[in-house]
Symmetry: C2
């Protein structure tokens, strides 16, 4: 759908801030979830360098009912940042400054295009860190994390991104600039617009500045890995550890197939067996590790290794860390088509992991499962041969069966990746029509012309 965006030439933006060139537009037609074959580039790209630039662009687009979709690193997995309705892509790449840092308040102010690990590097000298980064923080941006309410491996102890966002500057659809939230750590002052913007995938407003809360780097960190013979035992060990109140900072599970994939990529020489990776933070890590090891042993752990040495921890964790890179490389005939992130109540986690394996067997598709077990988040990947339409259909049916299984267990279709285009169909299963209609009412209230990232979240 082509939109007339020539009005951008009349806005107070420099020539270097607006592009209609095919090669520039092409950069924004895909993300990690939308492959080249399904690319949907915008009609124009605007590169804002200030809040004002975002504001004038939105005001003009809003008057003309032209869609505007913000795009940061494009690391979203569900097409969240792809402008499926055409119009303008707002590339946030130039809004990449760290604006302020108040170590005494444990707060940092950043623009949305700041990359996660850059932010962490900036605050590390003061003994602080951002604890809610997703695994992609080496390239994903703070703006993208906020848009999808990302979380990642440390959510079991530290929670989601939204719990670490204090204040946001947001440009509304009509160009109005608002500042939601407060720099105080808690507030009950009026409606929580902050948490409405977080996770709204750029459909309610465009974030132009964020004040993030920070945590103190732990006094001690202990990392570890446990191998099991049986996947059920490994999953049960994790839920028991959480239920016993072991203060884990991360606790991750990978199934035998994922272990095989990761091992083949890393040459780690590890057996393809279920593995649990964990990290403990704090002055009592040795005592926590003792309790954790006891639980693992009772559940038949074959081998438990722990360390407080940085290099050794990195080594123990290698297989877990490389999954993201290993998966697309595993089978030259197959592309990574689905990366799921269903989340269920913790008591159902072992059952959910078992269910994913059963679905793989039923559909004759190997489905590696892994993920942030401590908060009930099960990741799974589906590799398919895109030249085999029957296999693609089967893969998608398998994926749907898994998501339905999670929702039927009281869970959610997405724990941290957001809805984008890919998960829209599941929302109608997860929520009653009255809930979705309330969400639409909120959308209508904040973006009456529907210009912000249309085609996402709602079908």
């Amino acid at each position: 759908m082509s939109r007339d965006c020539s009005f951008l030439r009349d806005l107070p933006l420099s020539a270097e801030q607006v592009s209609f060139a095919t090669e520039d537009r092409a950069e924004f037609g895909t993300d990690y979830g939308v492959v080249e074959a399904d690319a949907s580039p915008p009609d124009a790209v605007v590169y804002p360098e200030s809040t004002e630039d975002v504001s004038v662009t939105l005001a003009a687009a809003n008057e003309r009912d032209v869609p505007v979709t913000p795009y940061a690193a494009g690391s979203s997995t569900e097409g969240n940042a792809v402008p499926v309705a055409g119009g303008i892509t707002l590339s946030m790449e130039r809004l990449d400054s760290i604006l302020g840092f108040r170590p005494d308040d444990m707060q940092v102010d950043v623009q949305p295009g700041v990359v996660g690990e850059e932010m962490d590097a900036h605050v590390a000298d003061e003994g602080l860190f951002f604890p809610a980064f997703p695994q992609s923080a080496a390239f994903s941006t703070v703006g993208g994390m906020i848009a999808n309410d990302a979380s990642g491996i440390r959510a079991v102890k530290y929670g989601e991104v939204r719990e670490w966002v204090l204040e946001l500057e947001v440009v509304k659809a009509d160009g109005t600039v608002i500042e939601v939230g407060t720099k105080a750590r808690k507030t009950s002052a009026g409606y929580n617009l902050l948490d409405l913007i977080v996770g709204s995938e750029g459909t309610l407003g465009v974030v132009t500045r964020a004040t993030m809360d920070l945590a103190v780097a732990p006094a001690r960190t202990l990392g570890g890995r446990a191998t099991f013979d049986d996947l059920d035992d490994a999953a049960a060990a994790i839920t028991e550890a959480v239920r016993a109140g072991v203060d884990v900072a991360t606790i991750e599970l990978i199934d035998p197939l994922t272990a095989e994939i990761a091992n083949s990529y890393t040459d780690a020489g590890l057996p393809p067996v279920p593995m649990v990776f964990f990290e403990l933070h704090g002055r009592g890590v040795d005592r926590e590790a003792e309790v954790l090891s006891g639980i693992f042993e009772r559940h038949g752990a074959r081998r438990i290794e722990t360390s407080e040495d940085d290099e050794e921890m990195t080594d123990l964790w290698r297989a877990r860390r490389e999954i993201g890179r290993a998966l697309p490389e595993y089978d030259p005939d197959r592309v990574l088509d689905v990366v799921g992130d269903v989340t269920v109540p913790i008591g159902s986690y072992p059952e959910m992991i078992r269910f994913i394996g059963e679905v793989g067997d039923e559909y004759g598709i190997p489905i590696p499962a892994f993920g942030h077990a401590g908060d009930g988040n099960a990741h799974y990947a589906i590799l398919v041969n895109r030249d085999d339409p029957e296999e693609v259909d089967r893969a998608h049916e398998a994926a749907e069966t898994i998501v339905r299984g999670a929702i039927d267990r009281g869970g959610t279709c997405t724990g941290e990746h957001g809805v984008g285009v890919g998960k829209r169909g599941y929302l109608t299963r997860e929520y009653d029509p009255a809930v979705l209609s309330t969400m639409r009412d909120v959308k209508e209230a904040l973006d009456p012309n529907g210009i912000l990232n249309p085609g996402k979240i709602f079908e």
Copy 2:
């Protein structure tokens, strides 16, 4: 303002569920913030016994533009539950059942009228507890806590109530029943309506069921008290402890005047000096306590006492625990007129505490200050002689000066009590008009006729 509520007689409610009697209505005209002299009783009271009862009442009231205000324990401090526009009060007292408990998932389902400590008693046998209770949990209800996004003494470690609410059944203004949130611990599936309802003070919907997340009771608990000669030193010691990453479960400060008030009530025989109360949770409490004591000593602590024994901890904490009861009893000529809960970024906390004392001096009004120092939450109380209008005016000016001081330091007018009637005027200082107008747009989207708890939050 009297409203015709006779239509209630025609609804499918029993005779025992509707009252127009003066003595019944009088029960709902006040709360902890609105005194008898300013009472504003409803025109009718409905006592729902089911979600359906709430739904039929709202649907009928909505058709007739009749205000409906939910009322639970009435422990709100800002008139939050007082029906200032008349109409119907929905008394939530009969919706007081615990509906389900899933220890494996660490979740409990409750109706809104369940009292905090009852919920805790129900889950304690399974080694679980609700960590975000306010100090009033012996009588305040889960519904009220959700309405105001309460928090209390353990927020520094465990966060606010909203972080422990997973799913809510909510009746919208037109009687539609929706279920927002998920039983999974995290989700990125669509707009976060859950956190929009939490803290909205019954102005966006009426909560009829809540699924709450629970924490595991700590393996070890250590309680303690430190006395200081100087208030500045005590406040600085706290901010340093937080900044150093000491894993405190609570850390509370009381100033010398508060100490005097609490001591006179408890006969504790303690000196009227600044005191810090703390609690540590986890397997490393002894090590954390050592670090904490070191920080206190460097800041000139006079005496530090700690214990892991229940009875001794209770004793150490007595002065802090009795403040709520001690304050109204302190001066027979004065009533407790203001209980403030401003919150500032943690780096500004010592300055804020000092500022409260300076305001007291400036206005010639003794203002005891205390509160949840670890998250920058400063409570203060103003006792006034209601027969002396000049003193009342002076007290209110002092209160305003304190709130303005908090907002000017990047803080919020209310950390946990909500806006109600009492704090409406401050929202216009805390937020830009465009933010308040966005809040109003959300209100309009969810409650177009404005029947839900009118007169609150917005001026």
